[in-house]
């Protein structure tokens, strides 16, 4: 589904896959490598169409699999190109080996993960398990709530990735099915505003493959002798420092986006109706819309409840999350994936770690829902709010994991 309302406005009615493709086109990328996979396929098909119809002047490499996608893009980025790809679930798994190398090479790649639950049981539908399974490999991870946020964030991702004190690849995640295929109103920023926002293209100045400036890329390091240990360790330290610096850069980039385009999104964490909140939900991704509606209904009946949405997930903005939750008596974290090792959701695990670091002992619950395309409705969030309220009143035990779609 695609329709441009012309010539009245630059408003597009489209799904988040097409919105992401518009973001890529407006970012004037040089190289796109693709392999289609559900629920990402229409995104790369839109990119191919944009290249054919002249909307985007880029080279598209239609490779034989995701491992080659990532390898092609690494070569392109090392040569100074602005690059893009998108994948989902099994495609991400097949990409894993070169995917691991990208952040260590400090390549400013931007890649959408159109999130999909992982096999098995067999499923082709949305869930965060694919993206969550790569949360600790050194890519920046950002999760979007709406198609508009997807478009805007893909563009912002290039500023974040290419920032000289970050130089790391960015995954812009949008929920398979609920965002990838939901059609809504999306405003296209003017090309000149995006050009001014992104500035002169200067991608990967630090490692461009340049015959006039020969250099070794990714030499053997590590081990226990010579300069190996310190070289490897300092690469890792630099990588970690870049991740931490990204927290500030992501905030700065969102502020600058608002100046150029007039739209503001909370860069790290959004606090929604947290004034005077006695308990709160923490959400991530497209579930947040229905959760906000549930919060409004609960507030309307006098319940002091708010919501904190995590947008930037890696690096995890722990201090900002804890600051947003300040003063609550109980927290419920809703995840669209699981942490198998901890029998809870991964965002819950991060919130609990952040609470511990802040020497806070707020009781909390882990909710898991929306797996493999399952719907998370306003009703599911009312149940979660009720469970958290019971913990806040001391009427229920914290520390439990509750599955929201068990009976659906």
């Amino acid at each position: 589904m695609s329709a441009v309302l012309k010539p009245r406005s630059r408003v597009v009615v489209c799904d988040a896959n097409e919105a992401a493709a518009w973001g890529v086109a407006l970012s004037r990328v040089d190289m796109v490598a693709v392999y289609p996979i559900t629920p990402q396929s229409s995104l790369v098909e839109f990119l191919a169409k944009f290249i054919v119809d002249g909307t985007l002047s880029a080279e598209l490499v239609d490779v034989e699999g995701e491992h080659s996608v990532m390898s092609v893009l690494q070569g392109a980025a090392l040569a100074g190109a602005r690059t893009y790809t998108a994948t989902s679930g099994p495609g991400l798994a097949f990409m894993f080996e070169p995917y691991l190398r990208a952040p260590g090479l400090r390549l400013p790649l931007v890649m959408s993960i159109v999130t999909r639950d992982t096999l098995t049981p067999q499923c082709v539908w949305g869930g965060h398990q694919d993206a969550m399974s790569v949360r600790e490999v050194g890519w920046i991870q950002i999760y979007c709530e709406s198609a508009q946020e997807v478009l805007d964030t893909v563009i912002m991702a290039y500023r974040i990735a290419e920032h000289p004190e970050v130089m790391l690849p960015v995954n812009v995640c949008h929920d398979g099915n609920y965002l990838s295929f939901a059609v809504s109103r999306v405003e296209l920023p003017a090309q000149d505003a995006v050009d001014a926002f992104l500035g002169d293209k200067d991608v990967n100045w630090h490692a461009a493959l340049d015959p006039d400036r020969p250099m070794a890329v990714d030499p053997l390091t590590g081990g226990s002798g010579g300069a190996g240990p310190r070289t490897f360790t300092r690469y890792r330290q630099g990588h970690c420092n870049g991740m931490q610096r990204a927290l500030e850069v992501i905030s700065e980039v969102h502020e600058d986006w608002e100046k150029h385009v007039g739209r503001r999104f909370a860069p790290l964490v959004e606090a929604y109706r947290m004034d005077g909140a006695e308990h709160a939900l923490v959400t991530i991704g497209s579930m947040t819309g229905a959760a906000k509606d549930a919060i409004d209904e609960a507030r309307a009946r006098g319940e002091k409840v708010g919501l904190v949405k995590v947008k930037t997930y890696r690096p995890f903005p722990g201090a900002t999350v804890i600051g947003a939750l300040d003063g609550v008596k109980a927290i419920g974290v809703v995840d669209r994936s699981v942490s198998f090792g901890w029998n809870c959701g991964p965002v819950y695990q991060d919130v609990m770690t952040s609470l511990a670091l802040a020497r806070s002992a707020v009781p909390a619950l882990s909710f898991i829902g929306g797996l493999a395309g399952a719907d998370l409705t306003i009703g599911h969030f009312h149940r979660a709010i009720g469970e958290v309220a019971a913990v806040a009143r001391g009427k229920a035990e914290p520390g439990r994991t509750l599955w929201l779609n068990e009976a659906d």
Binding site: M1, A3, Y178, L179, A290, D375
Partner: protein, 190 residues
């Protein structure tokens, strides 16, 4: 907020119809979100699509369980799925059928029925039973919630080209013109 559920079969364009309707509603100044049902997308299998619209921003990205209106673009899918499941009282049914209203199985919560023989119209126009744009015309006629002009512009702005565009514009107009609207009088419960 108005909630619409579209029922059809794979290949008839139920999901595309929801997108075109969302485009028309947004073009008329409303907020709209269309979401397909996620299931097995085989040709001929029952499919559904959901559409919400409102005067204010719609945040929830979820399926629809209690529709105000059911738009059924296939004459037999109601044998395979309960198209009235969860429907609100005093609801609207827009149905493709060659039958008279009295021969149809209509759930008690339905107050208004729009009837259109979309399969016959589609066979005349497309030589195939693709009923989605015919039934968008029927929806416009039966509900008055979206103008025929806005739907025409949405189809023009979509990916239809040349002969396909002309056929779909004709389908929209003939669906609109060929729809009868019936109000069902039901005795109040004693």
């Amino acid at each position: 907020m108005y909630e619409l559920r579209i029922h059809g079969r794979g290949g008839q364009g139920a999901v595309l119809a929801a997108g075109i309707l969302a485009t028309a509603l947004i073009e008329e100044g409303r907020f709209a979100v269309a979401i397909p049902q996620f299931g097995f997308e085989r040709r001929g299998a029952p499919v559904a699509a959901y559409l919400r619209f409102d005067e204010r921003e719609i945040r929830q990205l979820t399926n629809i369980y209690h529709p105000d209106c059911v738009l059924c673009i296939d004459p037999t899918v109601a044998r395979a799925v309960n198209i009235f499941d969860g429907m609100k009282d005093a609801g609207m049914l827009v149905q493709t059928s060659a039958k008279a209203l009295g021969e149809l199985n209509v759930a008690p919560q339905v107050a208004t029925v729009g009837l259109c023989d979309a399969v016959s119209l589609a066979l005349q126009i497309f030589k195939r039973p693709i009923t989605n744009t015919v039934m968008l015309g029927a929806f416009s006629r039966a509900t008055g919630l979206v103008s025929l002009d806005a739907l025409k512009r949405a189809i023009q702005d979509s990916n239809f080209r040349d002969a396909g565009l002309a056929q779909n514009m004709e389908a929209l107009e003939r669906g609109h013109a060929g729809t009868t609207v019936h109000h069902i009088e039901r005795k109040a419960a004693a």
